[in-house]
Amino acid sequence: MHWFASFTTFLQIFVNGIFLGCMYGVAAIGLSLIFGCMQIIFLAQGAVMILAAYCVFWMVTFTPLSPFWAFIFIIPVFLGFGFALYTGLFQRVAKTGKNPSLLLAFGLMVLLEHVMAFVFSADYRTVTTKYASTALGLAGVSFSVNRVIVALVACAATALVFLFLKKTILGKAVRAVSEDMGAAALLGMRPEWVSAVTFSIGISLAGVAGVATCIIFPFDPYFGFIFSLKALIAVAFGGLGSVGGVLLGGVILGVLESMTSYTISGGWADAVAYAAFLLVLIFRPEGLLGRRLGEKA
């Protein structure tokens, strides 16, 4: 074990963890939305993130645009992608039950990974921005500008989703359908349409998280699965039903990982995350702020 050299170091690691956690949080919100509408864990969330990361990589390679622009275009593109995925694939199995949907998500994940590996090759890719080496200093802690921007975008995305769910009638319909599809249908809401919308939003959030990821880390086609797991852990920590809660769950995970990585080692950071996940599932399945996953309030 390896303790913190000073309080400033501790703070630095802590802050890094928060930034990391914001990314997990955004993907996790998407995951929890999709869980609400399909009642399954969408394992391909991470693979979709990586797909977005590749989009950004190629955008940066072929155009002079800064990667931050990707945040803007990825949202509509992935909304469309999500809609197509749902209406083309998942809608068909939605009626058969949960196991086929779960397997389909799994199959999609494997398919995406392998296709990306084949088309883009399995090498690591990185995306840099002109802020890559700039950092703001505050109280001795260095805030990398990249990470600050990413964290801000994550918060903005979370706020947008929250407003959508709370203030628009379609957002309320999304919440209603994920709670009780039958009752919603009786009131005239079309479950397939609402589910398609929910799913699309979940996918576009994965897209945003993917853009964030590629700006900060190098990535390869197989990273996706770990990210899916981490997003899932974030949802477990935060609890379903609360957008802010899930973001917080992501932040907690990020901090936990960051701390463990520094004090013990990177490898153990993963194990600690999984162990914490199991503990939360067993002893506090409702997470910190939300309802139990899959249970009605």
Binding site: I169, K172, A173, R175, A176, E179, D180, G182, A183, A184, A185, L186, L187, G188, M189, R190, P191, G241, R291, K296, A297
Partner: protein, 240 residues
Amino acid sequence: MGNPLLEVEHVDAFYGVAQALWDVSFSVEERKITALLGANGAGKSTLLKAISGVVQPTKGRIVYAGSPLVDCRPEMAASSGISHVPEGRRLFSGLTVLENLELGAYLPSVRPMTKESLARVFGLFPVLKTRMRQLAGTLSGGEQQMLAIGRALMARPTLLLLDEPSLGLAPIVVKLLFDIIKKLNRDGVTILLVEQNVRKTLEIADYAFVLKTGVMRMEGQPAQLLGDPEFRQAFLGRIG
């Protein structure tokens, strides 16, 4: 005989794999309160579900406002003007009272009138206005039932299906509820009321049907039924 708003003709229906209805026929008259009575498991809920599209009849047909409902999904029934308040109410407990009501007016045809519909519902159920921002799951049984009915009314239905609204409620609340049902009917809503509380139901119903283990057994005006010995024995526990 007036105008039938709803006609159910020789319908068979299943609840899961078990048959729940056998050759059931009846009709609901416009602007009247029709009651559907029967013991637990008689198939009353399944019949309502067949009308609102939750369950598809395997035989026979259902005609609403002159046109047959074919392969009708719940969303389609709702947009045709049928509002079904299901057994157990099925409120969105994670959403507020106001949000539940707003969702009641989800259909594009009624959404522009949401404000007026809300005013009407709050007029009928003032307690909902005071609890507007509370989560639906935190309401009392009676309040939840009112919210469920209010939510169904937000869609300005022509036919309102009520599945055992008095279940689990205190008598004083039941009286209030039935008064409201009468008022709704006076305002022009056709009501099909499924109930186990026979006495109170017959006080407000214009006509009643009795379902027994999936088969339509008896029908008649409340006075007729109350005078019938078989009916009295089955539901009121005595003859004469």
